[in-house]
């Protein structure tokens, strides 16, 4: 009796030891800002609500089956050379353990299909939704707000996707080159952006915040450096952002900005930006100016971006200068680095010109009360 209990205790301890890592996986520390197990949006919440019961079932299956395995191996390890009873099978038991997993997966399937139906309905028919078109490029995200902005054009931006809190957002997902994948882990599950095909994703952010987001499908050399931010702000703040974004930025006022010990002049910077020989406008656009490039990100109101180079550097004038000077090192394969090669930068962009450009880009701001980083 006593030995049996000790055996049982030992077995339980061992099972618990095996289960610990699984439990660890379910806990996200304060650092886990890109985690899927904290949901701040309804789409992610529905997935989490499905995952939790399945995870408990999985843990139970894990403990039972691994326990059975370890117990069997321990209990029946060879003690003598006698040949054990030759048992060839037992149909009843085998039918039982065919049905048992079938029942478990049936429960999981029903839960799954219910969640699927809910999400499909919300995506098909979101109430009072903000429409955004997200377009994947190698290796950055473009966001178009159709019907918002000046009469002749949609509101176009990149890198930061502003959305209102508490109101559904329906995102139309497209790609101009290869397949990308739109993923904001704390708000919604991921959906592919496929050239020649349109996908939709609808979700509502529950909390204001700056959410981390990435491209999740391998899309070429700099795939790892294709990130963006979703900035969820209260409705009034969102309307104010739309209002400001709809206006072209005011022409730069005379002034200076200290960049790496140089003083950048925004007015001179704009002239450099619009100078065809400097190549900026071949790819980039700033509304209200002659810059109408469509290959690269739209740089209107660039001074309010949260990051540079699709999420690889925090926004600051110094980092922007670094990006212009050594972008080819920071993001290999990037289209801009094919123009701004080391030799080209050497001969065509002086440190002062870079400072002026930074001053110009930094001068175009929208004023929004930013929510906390999540």
């Amino acid at each position: 009796m006593r030995t049996q209990r000790r055996r049982l205790t030992r077995f339980l301890v061992f099972a618990a030891l095996l289960a610990t890592p699984l439990l660890l996986a379910a806990c996200a520390g304060p650092e886990a800002r890109q985690t899927t197990v904290i949901a701040d949006g309804d789409h992610a919440q529905r997935i989490l609500d499905l995952l939790v019961p399945i995870a408990w079932m999985a843990l139970a299956v894990f403990v039972v089956v691994e326990g059975l395995l370890v117990y069997t191996v321990w209990r029946f390890r060879r003690r003598s050379n006698a040949i054990p009873a030759q048992i060839h099978g037992n149909t009843q038991i085998e039918i039982l353990w065919t049905i048992a997993p079938a029942l478990i997966v049936l429960v999981i399937a029903v839960l799954t299909f219910r969640t699927q139906a809910q999400t499909a309905e919300i995506t098909r028919n979101p109430q009072n939704a903000v429409e955004v078109t997200a377009v994947g490029h190698q290796w950055w995200f473009e966001f178009v707000y159709p019907g918002i902005g000046q009469a002749e054009a949609s509101l176009v931006t990149a890198g930061d996707m502003y959305i209102p809190v508490g109101r559904p957002v329906r995102i139309t997902l497209q790609s101009v080159d290869v397949i990308h994948n739109f993923w904001v882990p704390r708000l919604a599950g991921k959906t592919y952006m496929i050239p020649g095909k349109t996908n939709y994703l609808a979700f509502t952010a529950n909390e204001p915040g700056i959410y981390r987001a990435v491209c999740a499908e391998f899309c070429g050399e700099a795939h790892a450096l294709m990130r963006f931010r979703v900035i969820a702000v209260p409705e009034a703040e969102f309307q104010s952002w739309v209002q400001q974004k709809s206006q072209p930025p005011a022409p730069p006022a005379a002034g200076t900005l200290a960049v790496n010990g140089l003083s950048g002049d925004p007015v001179a910077g704009q002239a450099i930006f619009l100078d065809a020989r400097k190549q900026c406008i071949s790819c980039h656009a700033v509304s209200g100016t002659d810059a109408k490039g469509i290959i690269g990100p739209n740089l209107t109101h660039y001074g309010s971006r949260r990051t540079i180079g699709a999420g690889i550097l925090d926004y600051s004038p110094e980092n922007l200068a670094l990006w212009l000077e050594r972008g080819y090192e920071l993001k290999p394969g990037n289209l801009m680095s094919r123009v701004l090669t080391p030799q080209w930068v050497q001969t065509n962009l002086s440190a002062q010109e870079i400072a002026d450009l930074v001053a110009y880009l930094d001068s175009m701001k929208v004023s929004v009360n930013l929510p906390p980083e999540r």
Partner: protein, 648 residues
């Protein structure tokens, strides 16, 4: 030679009359399934080491955030080649190698059904692998992921020769795989010893038969898709180019229609090995033979209905997703059945915990984890959070490393004595097992955690401070320990080949036919084709007093009684078997020449549209075609020369 049957008139020792060239020539011209099996295994092990080095380089890069050890392009080449290598050049050929050696012995055949085709397969596998690897020095290996999604693999986005070499190299190994699969099917269906009904075949043979059928149906899809891609890249078609009306999701459907059955091609042979190893070291028959065999068949069928669970995020719509989710959930049932049957096989047994047995048990333990993580991935809503994250990397390695590789190691420790006549060092083997088990879990378990915390796959670097740093370091340490355990394995093989303990014919008290012949077996395998009376033919002679399986309500027979009853029934067949001449084909270089010809032509095709290389390219294709024709002609002309080799 202790065989289930021995002719009454005494032992005849037939010797093949042809001359086997000595040394390397004997290997290059061989058509012997055992030698071919060994070439497969050595080649696969070499590629396994290379794929492992690629993994180590990647893990070293990812040890710390923002690392600059590898450039993104090199990293992308490495992860693509790691996946391609492990799937096509390591696990698959290792399965084929062990199967090649063991299956004919297990079914009581003297060789595979088509020995020369068998030789062609092994050379095509090696040359296809070498062609793929030559791209590293000829302009950069493929860097698009082993799934080669279009349009990233189209010329516009991948202008280097890497993709072409991948298409053609994998194409060559594909020919090898299909030829090999047909060979296995015919061997198993037509060449079994008298009395070995399908329901008496060892489960390892069952699993190889199922895998061969899967291969024949799955692999052509990949060949078709990659040929379309080749045409897109070089000859102006637009199968996968959306701007001209093509469809990138077509590639995904075609690729995964191959790719998912491929998972079962990789894992089922390991399941077969475990189904041999567990009964042997438990000294019990497999629990529920029919359930284990037919659950394999069920997995084979269902495996063709689940491919789009790799594509839940593609936007197929909730109905299609639900169908593929349901089919994927269903696969859990036959898989669960297998695991329960394995545990029941050990239950009430007398477990001899040899290294082979430890690996078989390890496979069950690790596969349970891989199976459970597969369930959440099969649920489309959860999949949308987990797919393309490190969670998938964890899941897939629990299935393919914890499953396939552990199974292959179990098989290696189990059959090495049969291959070489010497045992692997058991003490070293057990240390290696525990080291590998710990290192494996250190490497891959944390990937569940970082994946759940939002770390995407296939990224060459990541930011600090997202809760991933510690786990990535743990994974890297684990990977290096894993490398150490693989090194120990290599050392064990090297050492045991020279100085291992002599094994004898039957070191494990086995029950299947291969343990009845010498280690290594003679070139013709069996002096006399054995006659089989049960699922465990060798135990019929070794333990005649044991009871046979019997239906409820019937009287139990001892094995000896059952055998004598069977003999009456099989009389005619037994006589047939005695009259069978020993028929072995002679060694020939033609399969090698044919494989070389196809490879030379493939190199030519890769450069057909390269500027200024048309003449060279056409020259290569021409040379290759000529080599192929010479090889086929001489192959056909020599066939009739085999008939005199009768030693009987």
């Amino acid at each position: 030679m202790a065989i289930a049957e021995r002719p009454a008139e005494g032992v005849r020792v037939p010797t093949p009359t042809f001359h086997v060239p000595p040394g390397l020539a004997g290997w290059f011209s061989t058509v012997d399934h055992k030698r071919i099996g060994i070439i497969y295994m050595l080649g696969a092990f070499a590629f396994f080491i290379i794929g492992g080095i690629e993994a180590l380089l990647m893990r070293t890069q990812l040890a710390v955030p923002n690392n600059t050890f590898l450039s993104p392009d090199v990293y992308n080449q490495l992860f693509t080649m790691h996946g391609t290598t492990m799937v096509f050049l390591a696990i698959m050929p290792m399965n084929v190698g062990i199967g090649n050696y063991i299956v004919p012995l297990m079914v009581g055949a003297r060789d595979m059904a088509f020995p020369r085709l068998n030789a062609l397969s092994v050379w095509l596998f090696l040359l296809g692998g070498l062609m793929l690897y030559s791209s590293f020095i000829l302009g950069g290996a493929i860097n698009t992921g082993w799934f080669a999604y279009a349009p990233l693999t189209e010329r516009q986005f991948s202008p280097t020769i890497g993709v072409d070499f991948w298409i053609l190299g994998i194409g060559l190994t594909g020919v090898a795989s299909i030829a090999g699969a047909l060979n296995f099917i015919v061997t198993v269906l037509n060449m079994r010893a008298p009395g070995m009904t399908l329901n008496r075949m060892p489960l390892f043979v069952w699993m190889n038969l199922i895998v061969s059928f899967i291969l024949v149906f799955a692999f052509p899809t990949l060949t078709v898709a990659s040929t379309q891609l080749l045409f897109d890249r070089h000859f102006g078609t637009r199968f996968f180019l959306p701007a001209q009306g093509g469809d990138p999701t077509l590639w995904q459907h075609l690729f995964w229609f191959f790719g998912h059955p491929e998972v079962y091609i990789l894992i089922l042979p390991a399941f077969g090995i475990v189904s041999e190893v567990l009964p042997t070291f438990s000294r019990k028959p497999i629990f529920g033979y029919a359930f284990v065999a037919y659950s394999g068949v069920a997995i084979g069928f269902l495996g063709f209905l689940v491919w789009a669970h790799h594509m839940f995020g593609v936007g197929m719509g909730p109905l299609a997703n639900a169908f593929f989710a349901g089919a994927s959930f269903l696969i859990a049932v036959p898989t669960g059945v297998k695991i329960f049957n394995w545990i029941a096989t050990m239950y009430l047994g007398s477990l001899n915990l040899t290294t082979a047995m430890l690996y078989a048990i390890g496979l069950i333990g690790m596969f349970i984890i891989g199976g459970i993580s597969g369930i959440t991935l099969a649920s489309p809503p959860i999949d949308l959070q987990q797919t393309d994250s490190y969670y998938v990397v964890a899941h897939m390695h629990y299935v393919l490393f914890g499953g396939s590789i552990f199974g292959l190691l179990a098989g290696t420790f189990y059959w090495f004595p049969k291959f070489t006549g010497r045992l692997l060092d058991e003490r070293l083997g057990k240390i290696q097992f525990w080291l590998m088990l710990v290192a494996f879990n250190l490497t891959f378990f944390p990937m569940h955690i970082v994946g759940t915390d939002g770390m995407p796959r296939r990224i060459y670097t990541y930011e600090a401070g997202l809760g991933w740093d510690l786990w990535n370091m743990v994974e890297t340490v684990g990977a290096w320990l894993l490398a150490l355990s693989v090194l120990m394995m290599a050392y064990n093989v090297f050492k045991s080949l020279r100085a291992g303990e002599p094994a004898g014919n039957d070191p494990w008290d086995g029950s299947s036919l291969e343990w009845g012949v010498s280690s290594p077996p003679p070139v013709h395998n069996f002096d006399v084709i054995p006659v089989v009376h049960s699922r465990r033919p060798l135990w019929d002679t070794k333990y005649p007093e044991l009871e046979m399986a019997h239906a409820p309500g019937t009287k139990a027979l001892t094995r000896a009684e059952a055998v004598s009853r069977e003999r009456e029934r099989l009389k005619l067949q037994i006589e047939d078997a005695q009259d069978d001449p020993i028929h072995l084909p002679s060694p020939t270089y033609m399969p090698l020449l044919l494989a070389l010809g196809l490879t030379v032509a493939a190199f030519g095709i890769a450069y057909l549209t390269a500027p200024g290389l048309l003449a060279v390219s056409l020259g290569l294709v021409g040379t290759g075609v000529v080599m192929v024709f010479i090889a086929i002609f001489r192959w056909i002309m020599m066939s009739h020369k085999d008939s005199p080799h009768i030693a009987h």
